[in-house]
């Protein structure tokens, strides 16, 4: 699905009809995004995808696998696009950060269902899934870390701050902005938030 996934382990049906695989995933994003994981019966996802209930199990091990797959594809897409569009190695750190926010808001801004899905389901209390999600999200965190490091090395970012906290601030602020955008009904453009969000991240609160 995305270049990033060349190491992807698609347990079942990797060679199978990709159209149906995509259809089911898209249907799941929509149905789960709107109703929530536990209020989204497989039967409803299947109907939305235009396949039979049983067909879902030809492409996914179980319901949990659908959820994990969506997160993997989504984060994968984000990571891929960042690698593709941003020169992480040699570019300007500030520019990279703004690029990161732009891509992040760009992907969710055109797909509120996907945004909702991600906001709600990245937070999982089930221990086993938490581990899987951790693995999925790691490369994304690493990109943020990389940008921070580059910024520090190039002297644009402060050296004195806690780098992990900086990462959480970046991620948390973007996350919270997307959440607020959804909860208010996605009425304005997420893209319009890139600049003010970037500004607060970099400048902080201090006068």
């Amino acid at each position: 699905m995305n270049g990033h996934s060349f190491i992807e382990v698609r347990t079942i049906a990797q060679k199978k009809n990709n159209e149906k695989y995509e259809a089911i995933l898209n249907a799941a994003v929509k149905v789960i995004g709107q109703a929530g994981y536990h209020n989204a019966p497989i039967s409803k996802i299947a109907r939305e995808a235009g396949v039979a209930d049983g067909t879902v199990y030809l492409y996914f091990k179980n319901k949990e696998d659908i959820l994990i797959s969506i997160l993997r594809e989504t984060i994968g897409t984000i990571v891929d696009r960042i690698h593709d569009e941003l020169k992480l190695e040699d570019g300007d750190a500030a520019e990279s950060l703004k690029g990161l926010i732009t891509i992040y808001f760009g992907i969710f801004g055109v797909n509120p269902d996907l945004a909702m899905f991600t906001q709600v389901h990245l937070r999982q209390s089930n221990a086993e899934m938490r581990k899987q999600i951790g693995d999925i999200i790691r490369p994304y965190y690493q990109i943020i870390d990389q940008i921070i490091l580059k910024g520090i090395e190039s002297g644009v970012f402060r050296e004195s701050m806690d780098k992990r906290i900086a990462r959480r601030m970046i991620f948390g602020t973007m996350d919270e902005t997307v959440t607020a955008w959804i909860l208010t009904g996605a009425k304005y453009s997420l893209a319009s938030q890139v600049q003010p969000v970037y500004d607060v991240m970099v400048g902080g609160l201090r006068a």
Copy 2:
């Protein structure tokens, strides 16, 4: 449970037996916090609380009511403590912000189950619950807004930034810090994060 609740409408059993009410809430925090709302049967919560299944319904209208009640009590406690311990009106904005973080991390730092519960379940995809949660969390947001405003007026915080984004940054950063703390097993002290978090919030990334 918290002074904030003097207007509290406990529809059922506002009776004397607060002990069982508390026991059920605590059990629910634990069970739901560990397994997730949809993997936490009432029967398990009841057993953990040491009561019969039916007893739960003497104190709560239904399962959803338990979830909402926990969030209300938790946010209520935070808001109460802030009002009690911080001089929001006349105090120093920077100090208020640090106090906010201290209280927030203090409450969750001693109760990882509650932290987990809140992190996961403040994000709800069910539309009706989202509305209720919105109402519950509003006073908390207002406190953050108040601190930001005070900071700007007193000249400690920048006037040029987007105030809503600033609020989301504050909330998102704390949230993300707590989440990370849980996911890594709550092995270090959350209190130790107050200063670095505050520092990043106020100073931002810029060198």
Copy 3:
């Protein structure tokens, strides 16, 4: 409650506060009559009666006992009034029949809840209760039989007809009339139906 009950076996609390006994029965007639036996919780009956749930069990063995008691009291009242107001032994058969209808419609006509209760709950599929109801209703049937017999002996009623069928016709017609009256909302006076019902019973369909 009715003279007829001097042999009544009030299993519990026969010497107890009769006011509460009556209050519970009346409440049960109302609540069960409107909602049906299985949609009428004891708690609701108790509340309607102004007593605590547990109190109900001081006056009745269990919920079934309430139902049986109401039927017993109701049929008992009917039977008593017939014995009191009609000269079954020496009176005119036609007059007795009309008197029977008048009393029957009179009792239910002023109490639609009781009418509903009786119509629905005289029909019971539970085998054990069916037996008890049979015992309760027997004296009522015997009165009808007695009237028929007297009519035949005095030459006012046909000898050639099947006497049991005649009894069922009398009971079934009254029953059906009361049922129809309730189902249409008890908007007209049941008393107004005495004459036409009597007329059809006695005259039959034949021109």
Copy 4:
């Protein structure tokens, strides 16, 4: 099931597998007929029908739908057979009446469970179901009305009587006869009651 149902709206599973649909209905007639609606768990009906609990819900919306469906099929069958076997338009009114009784007793006479079911559950205290039952039973009432009218027009039945009361007498007498037959254990043949019942209906009590 019956020709009458060509407009039947079988919301779920109008699928080919009528066998299971029928099996569940028959099982429900038996189990509910013997134990009563509220003492007949779906699990017991399913077991009797030889299917899993969940299967019931592939064929019926809910438990109430089973009850309504049975009544609809039963009354439908009666109405169909009357239309098929009786010349309502041009036949003799007396003959039509006897035919009606014959069919009615014929259907229930071979199926005491169904008779019990119908006797008990046509009387429903639940307001919403009462409306549905009213709709179901209407065509049956109309047939009786039609017979009465035809009788009056052809001069066989009295014009002076109340026609609605006459209908209730006919229905009530048949009903009561079936009820009595069941309550006494269905030991004699219902068919043997056709003539005496007809006789009492037409002749009335008068000598």
